[in-house]
Symmetry: C2
């Protein structure tokens, strides 16, 4: 049997009782490390998270295996699912298991093989952003901002932000995470050398959005109502003891520091009265 267990916002004690009870029946636990990471830790490839998890939840450390993107997407049948016929196994996922397509794909493969699957839900950034005071039902489509390069600066995500904004809906921007990435050179040579992990910050995201506004304003037909003076809200390490919520203009956010990852950025549409009152509290909050 395969359990897919949400770990919530990333601290070991964010797990649910049901989730913990399931883990205790498992001979192997795969800690998925590429769609998100546990936030109360030094951010590495997941090793420190694994140790912290084993210690806090009193689990056998040797039963926990880090599952990177390759294992989750390419070798999962051999490395993960093959163990689920004889024993219970679990895949532990930061957030709710269904926030990423990867886990749907895993469930489909398990079902094809006749493996029973049980999903144990948990908190996700997608709803925890309610902590900003912005009403969840007023959020439009969620977008993912990816790292730009010197020659590749897509504005498609920002166009969705504009579309939401014009429809009076807030946008949650999830920010890029690069863990175990290889340079093209190392990939071509087959060198298993990985770049240091990178996590997009709220100020990098705000800069990218300001630049997108500029690019789109150059073509008149796309001129948009969002400007660098529009407000935005950064959330950092949401749900952890040292979470920060900061509300300021996009221009000011370009120079803001909200501390360690993980960050997200919200572009609110026009605010209702209660939202305004609630957000005002975070205007005063300075790190």
């Amino acid at each position: 049997m395969l359990f897919i267990v949400g770990l919530g916002l990333g601290s070991p004690d964010d797990i649910t009782l049901r989730g913990l009870n399931a883990l205790k029946t498992c001979s192997r636990i795969f800690l998925e490390t590429y769609t998100s990471l546990m936030t109360e830790l030094d951010l590495d490839d997941g090793t420190s998270g694994k140790l912290h998890l084993a210690k806090t939840l009193n689990l056998d450390e040797s039963s926990i295996v880090l599952a990177d993107r390759t294992m989750m997407e390419q070798t999962c049948e051999r490395d993960i699912l093959s163990h689920a016929f004889e024993n219970n196994i679990a895949i532990l996922v930061v957030g709710d298991p269904f926030a990423a397509t990867t886990h749907h794909d895993m469930i489909l493969r398990a079902r094809e093989k006749g493996i029973k699957v049980e999903v144990i839900h948990n908190a996700s950034i997608l709803t925890a952003v309610g902590a900003t005071g912005l009403q969840l039902y007023r959020f439009g489509e969620t977008v993912s901002l990816c790292f730009w390069t010197d020659t590749w600066k897509p504005t498609s995500a920002f166009e969705k932000v504009m579309k939401n904004f014009e429809a009076g809906l807030h946008t949650l921007c999830l920010l890029d995470i690069k863990v175990k990435e290889q340079t093209v050179e190392n990939m071509m040579r087959g060198n298993k050398i990985f770049e240091p992990p990178r996590f997009m910050t709220a100020h990098e995201a705000a800069s990218q959005i300001c630049e997108s506004i500029e690019i789109l304003n150059e073509s008149e037909e796309n001129a948009c109502d969002l400007t660098p003076s529009s407000i935005c809200v950064a959330v950092a390490r949401l749900g952890s003891k040292d979470q920060i919520i900061k509300c300021c203009s996009l221009a000011d956010m370009c120079n803001a520091d909200v501390g360690r990852p993980l960050h997200s950025l919200i572009i609110p549409a026009n605010l209702h009265e209660l939202e305004q009152e609630y957000l005002y509290f975070f205007k005063a909050q300075i790190k």
Copy 2:
């Protein structure tokens, strides 16, 4: 100090370790009973949920107080917040604490009084609907369907469904819950007599949507692409052991029975390939 603790999808063991640890420091625990209810129980005013919760989590039953709408919105300062100056107290909320405006309002009032607030997040129906295979980032604005009466049949919620549909976005419809409602007569006379609880079912929601389609099609300018043959997805008791996910046409859903509350209904937009493959599984699932 005030903890606002999410209870997740409604079974006592859906609570997080952090949430349980917080409850253990509290002299009073208010179980909020009007924005949602624990699903693994007989559905009453919350009493059976309270007993089940106390037993499963080994909490002192006499420390748990049911908090209905009146207490949460009108008498909260006297009945709830006044206890938070000297002691730790908690408000327990099914789902994530921020899914409803009520809890934002409570936090604002607490802050005004200088009471420290800590929020402990949990799973919410808003993300758990990922269990259907529909991608969460493809959901548009969430809508709430309320019970119609013979003379009051608003189509405003359905108009939002159409707007999402036309923009290629799925819609999650949350269905009305009526707990401790009074008839107008009893209210006028000041009789504290409450009607039996009512929970809108997926088939009632589907009927309401089919009727909305008819009403809007009568005025040509609002003719919509959704028809009674469009597919919809019902989720019942999501996250519990006996959850049901059912996918069929709106017309067929009008006659479907997915069992006990709570239900939600999703109107998907055009499906991606993986979504289609995943949903197909639930077409076969019959109660």
